[in-house]
Symmetry: C2
């Protein structure tokens, strides 16, 4: 049976590029064939994995400019038994694709909201007050290019795949633009340089957050990221997503999590994994 | 001279409703007239205040369902000398406005991205695959309603102001939907129940975040919110925005901030303020 990997589609997205990197790794390690399966949304990618329809899902977690991808964190919290196997960091170079003749004729720009946000200064500077229209993915944006006054923000790979000319590249506002993805599956993952988890806290307990974080401070465990998301119950009621440096296989992380469990309401451990940094897009 | 308050416009936005609440407070306290000034974006609202063109700016900070408003945090960090005078929590009840006859004919829904996100389950359930098109504010969305297959998500107050029929209300996915706003000015603010600040950390210093948070733990100061935002320098390099329970006028908060200053790179204090919770929209 080939291994299947779900990712945000259609073909040509950055999530697919991350999935290709991970598929290469799996093929080398397991000597088996791998099939990529595009999905219409990030939430559906993870839901399909939780339902057992695919073996892995590749989802974006955060971008170096725009920050966390909320829908990934919110969906991971809602679903059960999903474990991170690997983090993959991809450089992101956005291009402006259009069948129009030049920048002066562009009136509307389509893309994923994260890509629109990552190019906003360039768009303001180089185009004449275009409408910015969000799509469900960077390649979904290419469906709107029959009109020659429309452009899409997507990758150079997507330009080649769909045969659309590149009007400008790179157009991201910050050159050091990269996105971190997680490869997730239902297998336990207890080894790696980093561990991710999330927790909610008992309501109205003063000092609860600091007490929870002291569980790590006591054991000199470094937190590389902390992110709050609303529980959607009431304003001021949060979930906390934490990335820490250390592995679930070590006694210090195990002790910290035992201490943490005594002061959280719900605690979910998303596993330990290593980070693979890719220097050029596939 | 009348006092001027900048807010996201055009007239009819939730930010304007929060500004009206704050204007009432100012008028009672200072016996002077107050003028509201709409701006085309949240960033421009704060920039106008920093440039001295207005006396106050009212900006959304976080919503109970969708979380933080990143552009508010990012802009506050970039500008200097802005201080929070008051937090205002408003209930948010979204309505679907259209000149169309009924829900079955709606093909496109316009609104601010936060409002679209707060109604996504309702839109999926009650409309037939509409295009969701973001606008710069909930009232900006009303400019697109000449087409009777278009609808906008906005407030019932906006429906009255602009004379657009309400097709459905409420349409937010969670009934307990509210948004916290900050009233910001250039005056020092050192008294109140809560204090907000943000800091960056020295690069690659293990344990830096936990060390910074211990400054509060040592003095039993409760953190009501912690939020990370990218510095936009490189992936994994964050600013941290913190709301704590306590006032800059108390010795314990002053001591904690002195300790914090020794382990941060840049530390910005946004002031102390009280929280006003409004039970019904103006």
């Amino acid at each position: 049976m080939p291994i299947t990997i779900a990712h945000l589609g259609p073909t040509g997205t950055y999530a697919e590029a991350a999935a290709m990197v991970y598929a290469d790794q799996l093929q080398q390690r397991r000597q088996t064939s791998v099939t990529l399966e595009p999905y219409p949304s990030i939430a559906k990618t993870l839901q399909s994995l939780a339902a057992g329809n695919v073996d892995y899902a590749i989802v974006p977690v955060e971008n170096s400019i725009e920050g966390s991808v909320s829908i990934t964190l919110d969906t991971l919290w809602q679903l059960d038994n999903l474990q991170i196997q690997q983090a993959i960091v991809l450089p992101i170079t956005h291009a402006l694709l259009s069948h129009g003749e030049n920048l002066a004729t562009i009136r509307a720009v389509y893309s994923h909201p994260q890509a629109l946000a990552q190019c906003q200064i360039w768009l303001e500077t180089n185009l004449h007050h275009p409408s910015l229209i969000p799509t469900s993915s960077t390649t979904e944006a290419l469906r709107h290019l029959d009109d020659r006054t429309a452009a899409a923000i997507s990758s150079q790979r997507a330009a080649q795949l769909y045969g659309v000319p590149v009007l400008a590249c790179p157009i991201n506002d910050y050159p050091d633009n990269c996105t971190r993805f997680w490869a997730v599956s239902q297998q336990a993952s207890t080894h790696g340089s980093h561990t991710s988890l999330a927790f909610s806290l008992p309501a109205n307990l003063p000092g609860a957050l600091v007490k929870a974080l002291q569980a790590f401070a006591h054991l000199d465990i470094n937190l590389s990221k902390i992110e709050s998301r609303p529980t959607k119950r009431s304003l001021g009621d949060y979930l906390f997503f934490i990335d820490l440096e250390g592995s679930l296989s070590t006694p210090s992380v195990q002790s910290a999590l035992q201490e943490l469990a005594t002061c959280t309401e719900t605690l979910k451990i998303f596993g330990s994994y290593s980070i693979l940094t890719v220097t050029a897009l596939p």
